[in-house]
Symmetry: C2
DNA sequence: CGTGTGATTGATCGAGCTCAAGCTCGGTGG
DNA sequence: CCACCGAGCTTGAGCTCGATCAATCACACG
């Protein structure tokens, strides 16, 4: 039962349900809904818009020489991000079907920030979190094996998602994961299957998993080394 | 012939030689010199220090589960970066033998920024550049083949270095490059040798290269793609 | 009930990790 | 001066992993 006319207010309440940066701007925030694969509007305002993701997921991606797409930032609920008109090569799109965001005109935010130290501080905090997200992805991409990458990706998702139940709901397709990790879709599948067969994760649905063994996920995805070593010693 | 007592003034002049953010703080900047592999001092000041790299190179690295080291940010002359005491897992170290930096206490910078819109704007600019550096590295790491990674790394280095001569001086060892790209040292070597043999780059010294064919560097690493492309166009 | 999108599995082959061995070069002690 | 090191760089051989191509399966939708 979704309220139709009052949908925006519904999300506004969700937004205000907990403290967050830019909180005091909630009153002036516009609620925007996007369907899957729909581009997040830049807005006509000078400097673009700040967004706070309420529901769903958003990707920022770039096309690489050769035509492959690379996701360079993944936004989850309560993440802030900037979409500006001078984005160049980048596109910012909704991943999940029902993606809802709060939108703050950039110019207005900056104007207010000049008068308001607290707000300026919050803006710096937001920027710092964006940097942290990107560094996080960097570390994940730096993994050697695919299982390692997928594993640390799942962990990272789990940490960022405030999931009370032990279940982790990926709002992403395998293709999105593949583009985030810079590996092929097939490899993502195989890695997930592998983790599942080793009892480290469990698939509840296709897009919902349960992490059974966190320790195994963070640590080594190398096992063959032992066999190798033994064989060599035996020889 | 290096002036001993006046060395700091020498670098101060280098620093002031061109416009840059925080320029007005140059007067209060301390000049710091670091040897290769020496950690950049956090400083005792609350919130750490901002640094502007004048000469040399600096890496920010983290140790990954399994013991491998991953460089998550590479600083070149005229880059700004923050070293704070709550850095956690990260270490920030000089890469080049003679690395010289200008140091600005973070607390002082922020204090001034509250009074000075221009300065606050410059700080945001600095943060934005740091994010851009990290995203750049992300895109490089997202490459499939090692030649692709090394190639785009060299291009990125070249763009960031204001080299008047066509020569690009890497201040990094092969090991550093390997840790930046998350590949093995041997693979870095082979990639460089490969690029050299194909006439795309030329080695002047071990650590100095000349880029002969920029187009080839950006593009090819793939040759099989043709089959793919045909299929896509046909569709 | 076809159609399309997403997910999975199999087979093949080349790229890159690993181990191993040399190589270059600058410094250090005899 | 030379011998000897050690750090960095390079090359080779073998083997694993993942990209690629191909085929199915699951499922929602018109």
């Amino acid at each position: 039962m979704k309220p139709r006319d009052h949908a925006a207010d519904h999300y506004r309440r969700m937004l205000s349900a907990e403290r967050h940066p830019l909180e005091r701007l909630d009153g002036s925030a516009a609620i925007v809904k996007c369907a899957r694969n729909q581009e997040i509007p830049t807005g006509e305002a000078r400097g673009g818009h700040w967004y706070c993701l309420i529901t769903g997921a958003v990707r920022r991606s770039a096309i690489r020489h050769g035509g492959r797409r690379q996701i360079v930032e993944l936004m989850l609920p309560r993440d802030f991000f900037l979409v500006s008109e001078t984005q160049g090569e980048e596109t910012v799109e909704a991943i999940a079907e029902h993606t809802v965001l709060a939108s703050y005109p950039c110019a207005r935010v900056e104007l207010l920030a000049e008068q308001d130290r607290q707000l300026a501080q919050e803006l710096r905090e937001i920027a710092s979190q964006s940097l942290a997200r990107t560094r996080d992805q960097l570390m994940i991409l730096g993994g050697i094996t695919a299982v390692e990458k997928v594993g640390s990706f799942l962990l990272s998702l789990d940490e960022r998602t405030s999931s009370e139940s032990g279940r982790l709901d990926l709002a992403l397709t395998r293709y999105d994961i593949a583009e985030y990790l810079a590996v092929s879709v097939e490899t993502v599948c195989r890695a997930i299957t592998d983790l599942q067969q080793r009892g480290i994760i469990a698939l509840v649905g296709t897009r919902t998993i349960k992490i059974l063994d966190r320790g195994a996920l963070e640590h080594r995805a190398r096992k063959k080394m032992n066999a190798n070593r033994k064989r060599l010693i035996a020889a």
